[in-house]
Symmetry: C2
Subunit: 734 residues, 2 copies
Amino acid sequence: MAAVKCRKSCGRQSGRFLRLSWPLLAALMLVLPTVESQDGPAAAKTTPRPAIPVLPTEKDSEKAAEEDHKLDSLNLMMFLFLLVLTILTIWLFKHRRFRYLHETGLALLYGLIVGVIIRYTSNEVVPQRPVSQVVAAGNIEGDPPGNIVLNVSAGEFLFSNQGPYQENQVTVINPELSKATFDPEIFFNILLPPIIFHAGYSLKKRHFFRNIGGILTYAFLGTAVSTFIVGSVMYAFVLIGAAADIDFSFVDCLFFGAVISATDPVTVLAIFHDMHVDVDLYALVFGESVMNDAVAIVLSSTVEGYGKTTKAFDGIAFLTAFGNFLGIFAGSFGIGAVMGCFTAILTKFTKIREHPLLETCMFFLMSYSTFLMAEALGMTGIVAVLFCGITQAHYTYNNLSEESKARTKQLFELLNFLAENFIFSYMGVSVFTFQHHQWKGGFISAAFLAIGLGRMCNIYPLTLLLNLGRHQKINFNFQNMMMFSGLRGAVAFALAIRSTSAGARQLMFTTTLMIVMVTVLFCGSLTLQMLTWLKIRVGVDEDQEISQPFEAVDTHSLDSSMHSGAGGSSKDNAVVVSTPQGDAQIDSRRRGMRYESAWLFRVWYNFDHNYLKPTLTHAGPPLTETLPPCCLPLARCLTSTQAYENQHQIQEDSDTDLILDGSELSYGRANSGNDLTATVVTTPTNATPTLPKAPAEEDGVEGDLGLGDHELRTRARVMMTMSTGVPGKDSSHV
Amino acid sequence: MAAVKCRKSCGRQSGRFLRLSWPLLAALMLVLPTVESQDGPAAAKTTPRPAIPVLPTEKDSEKAAEEDHKLDSLNLMMFLFLLVLTILTIWLFKHRRFRYLHETGLALLYGLIVGVIIRYTSNEVVPQRPVSQVVAAGNIEGDPPGNIVLNVSAGEFLFSNQGPYQENQVTVINPELSKATFDPEIFFNILLPPIIFHAGYSLKKRHFFRNIGGILTYAFLGTAVSTFIVGSVMYAFVLIGAAADIDFSFVDCLFFGAVISATDPVTVLAIFHDMHVDVDLYALVFGESVMNDAVAIVLSSTVEGYGKTTKAFDGIAFLTAFGNFLGIFAGSFGIGAVMGCFTAILTKFTKIREHPLLETCMFFLMSYSTFLMAEALGMTGIVAVLFCGITQAHYTYNNLSEESKARTKQLFELLNFLAENFIFSYMGVSVFTFQHHQWKGGFISAAFLAIGLGRMCNIYPLTLLLNLGRHQKINFNFQNMMMFSGLRGAVAFALAIRSTSAGARQLMFTTTLMIVMVTVLFCGSLTLQMLTWLKIRVGVDEDQEISQPFEAVDTHSLDSSMHSGAGGSSKDNAVVVSTPQGDAQIDSRRRGMRYESAWLFRVWYNFDHNYLKPTLTHAGPPLTETLPPCCLPLARCLTSTQAYENQHQIQEDSDTDLILDGSELSYGRANSGNDLTATVVTTPTNATPTLPKAPAEEDGVEGDLGLGDHELRTRARVMMTMSTGVPGKDSSHV
């Protein structure tokens, strides 16, 4: 029923948007019917694991393999053409500034269309040879053999052991539909890693770290709350008896809760980005979605492990699970961070940067190795890869050559785009080609209710809590927008498709698919409208951000610029001139400052800036200055000559390069018209472009690290007065 | 025996080169022993097809799958670390200008080392449960069932039909070694396409097309000759009876001949490139290797098909096979070319270039679709992808945005590097982990003899033939160098590993592996020495190429630049000024010219320039001018506004961008001190940089297309006189 409804709505929407792409689709449809009926050789490679393939018994198995290969090629080609179609249509949309449908939504829609075509053009074959014809061929004592040879009238046939037999294990599969089905592990091992790495690598670090408290609260506490609420609601629904025919334990419900709590608001974020929405809102939504993917993945595997040991509630098992969760999360985090640092060291102490191709390859290999290493050690590769991405962006990126910087960014952007859209188009297709859907309208409706409730109990109470401690409150409209941004996407899908053998899991998969589709298409197309309704300021020109109160500044780089004397380039001189008056004020101001982020981040920041950055990159003060004298030999060994050179000029750090495009380059953040305190200093807009670039970038960089707003404001003023020629005058107003 | 010998030599070589990378290797070795013994679950995914997996019978198959996944991750990680190690070492080599070992050779060596470690640290497990314990479980009438359930004392077990039983099909496999084995189709479907596409996309078109006659002769005739000679020699060896225990038909020998005829002189080409060797020699070696891969692939599949129909020689079957060869080659060529053109049209008529990410994604997807489409239609994907690459470079590349140009080049460069080195390191590993090696010293030695003879009968007689028609002879030293450049590599390996079920194929695989290893390591390290011995000039500064006699010029662009009047930019003006005197000379000269390349290429060139380029790109004269008046509406429809604009300025064509790096930018080719006729005009070197860039690039572009040397010489002179201010004086000397 839901399928029919969905198919209808797709038809309506796509009919309106296609136009230019119809010839292509027509060509595709011409190609598709050549997916000819095949009875025997089914999907040994592409069927989901638990289904037992119907294997060929023809003499000419080579020919069958060839046919198989052709079908595989055709099938993959279909997905590629789908993506091409999506790309062309999305270009058309971008060209016409049509923002109601994101590429992922479009990929989903096209996938649905192709799924319908495959479904209703493929012959509904019932395998001619009933599977499990012979139920008991003999009685053998001892261990079961690995292979047996069976004498039938047609000759000798080899049978291999598939493991213990379970009822319903051998299902009748439509081999044509199975062809359009991929090994579910592909999503976790091939497609998700680049998506998640890209999220980490392109994190807008500055705004991310400024909101780190909120983000972590939403990600950890929020996901836990959401998991629990969704689990409880679903369990209540099951208890009522509406899904009586499927065995659903509370742990299953919790698992579903964890799976469905991974938000993925790509659509919303794309619109936020296009519309230049308030950067803090962006950081909160993006940061939450990135971190809660990691939490949800670890949480779901923990719940699954918990479910294996006990089905009922058990205090000790619960604590073990909690310990497991922490252990896996910390372990994955550790692997990611260590591998990132290791790459940083490799790029720092070799001159591989002279060969950008080699450098990029190494970067790529090390990053993917992180995933594999975590998986091999029983941790969660996706989480490791996320933190590896963040570490690579924070340290390694600084050591890369200019060409490699561009190459790595572009490479992961490309991989992310392809993987993401592939997943969404696969989702669309699998609505029709997945052969074990459990369409239970009641359960699906209850799930929608549950995720809404879960999201509500996540955002509003936690924001209330956060606002108690936040200097800069998250206002009600922002909360509503965050509530609305709880779309589900690739991660939830990948988690749900991972195991679809049991009936409960199949129902979860169907439900997840529906939730992803509805939220992506519905919320995605309503985002613009929602921004208007919630009166969230868009079109924020980030160039004007300097007029905002900001507190972070890098006193160390100011210090080091003090050392530079008169020897720097012209832009350095500008800073050097300004620092004497700025520096004293900053120091006095620092003491009385209310940091929005906790002292933990100051400690971390100082450690990072004084020890980690100088060790892992060429940036920061030389270790010979920051380490105690007893460590001098080590410090000398670790400090590159470049670091000494850099000491005499403010290092152009990478962070702003990475986090901001040319168009986004900014000195602070935009006034979004909410609870921020008005700024005393307002600079004439035309003064901004005359500011020296490098120190401004430095601001952006060091402002990342959670030192709060105060210092950057001072620093901004220092620079402004410097450029407007009224030094130190109004900086006393603060 | 051969393995032992090889292992020794590897140890010696690598021991010398490693140094910096040892810590890494040590780390790797620490990780490796964690590949713990596993008896049950073997390699369902990674075993070569014909081997029947020993499947788990444990109750907890989920746990086994998890362990399996960990091992898979570890195994893949090992390869990635191998690549990282290769990259670091090769950086060191490049850094120290050590040119005796190419990255592929190094990957091979490291692979060997890791192969040894895996082999001798893994437990030589004999599966506890003998496979095929039960030989006949029952007698069943009619069709064999797809699955049967067997009652043993341990419970009910499911067995699935694996097809007809053959003796020796069920072999005892060491599951640990199988873990380090990938599905052989990965090479053909995943790793080779980017390598081959990159070869086509980065073809130095100008030199390639100038030597197209020679290249095609070597590729088609030469590969056929080589296949036949190798096949005959091996068959003679088999007839003598030295490999009596293996069933080797003549067709098998021919198949081996085809497989081993695919040359892959990456090592040599890398050195040629580094040393700036004569560009014609480069073009011949590179062009031959690219084209003969395609020929060898189609040829081997044709021979295989032929072998299926008949084992003896049969005239009609032979003709059918020949027809098949032509059909598959032409079909694959057609698909590649059509898909390339289709991409060109898509990029021309949409404004997708405003979104480089979308553009690059589309480019990538269309290119890989070409492979899949060819495979789905029963053609050869690799060949299609090669010609798709050439077409993309020739047309689509012109339409791409600057960013996409860089992105696509870099993307395929990266993929090529990774895939190539992965294959070579896999080769090294599989020397020790492949479990069906047939070490037959006699056969392998005979094969070395055969390929030497085959190469000799390919190069020398064909060069003799070619030199008859060539204006610019291929001298004896060049022939020797080409003879020496017959290394074998990735394609031969991928062809040989594709099917290793029969004993004959296993022997072929072992032999191919040995040949690849020896040629890559031996010839690779001797290339520099060989260049000296053969007195082949290196360090040719391509910037001086303008002093070379060259004949190709684009009269059309000269014509169109005539139309531009005085309105062009300064560089256009320069050309416009020079054309009046240049143009008449060119026309008069054209008639009496001896074209090195045949009339066919003139016809093609004119067609390409007048119709294809304007249709598929924004370059060239507008179709409204070149098409007959009756087609005017169509022409108007196909001509972009940009083309009309371009009409008024000489279009900066992409070809030189693509084929030449900044450092390689040149106006002609270097004097390599051989049979070229001395040029009359010699320009002072310092005059070269003052030449206007755009027209010079145009030269490069159009000089690609086989119009011969003559016109470019004239054109070069036109430009030179223009820049030296002595117009039309010495152009009459020619």
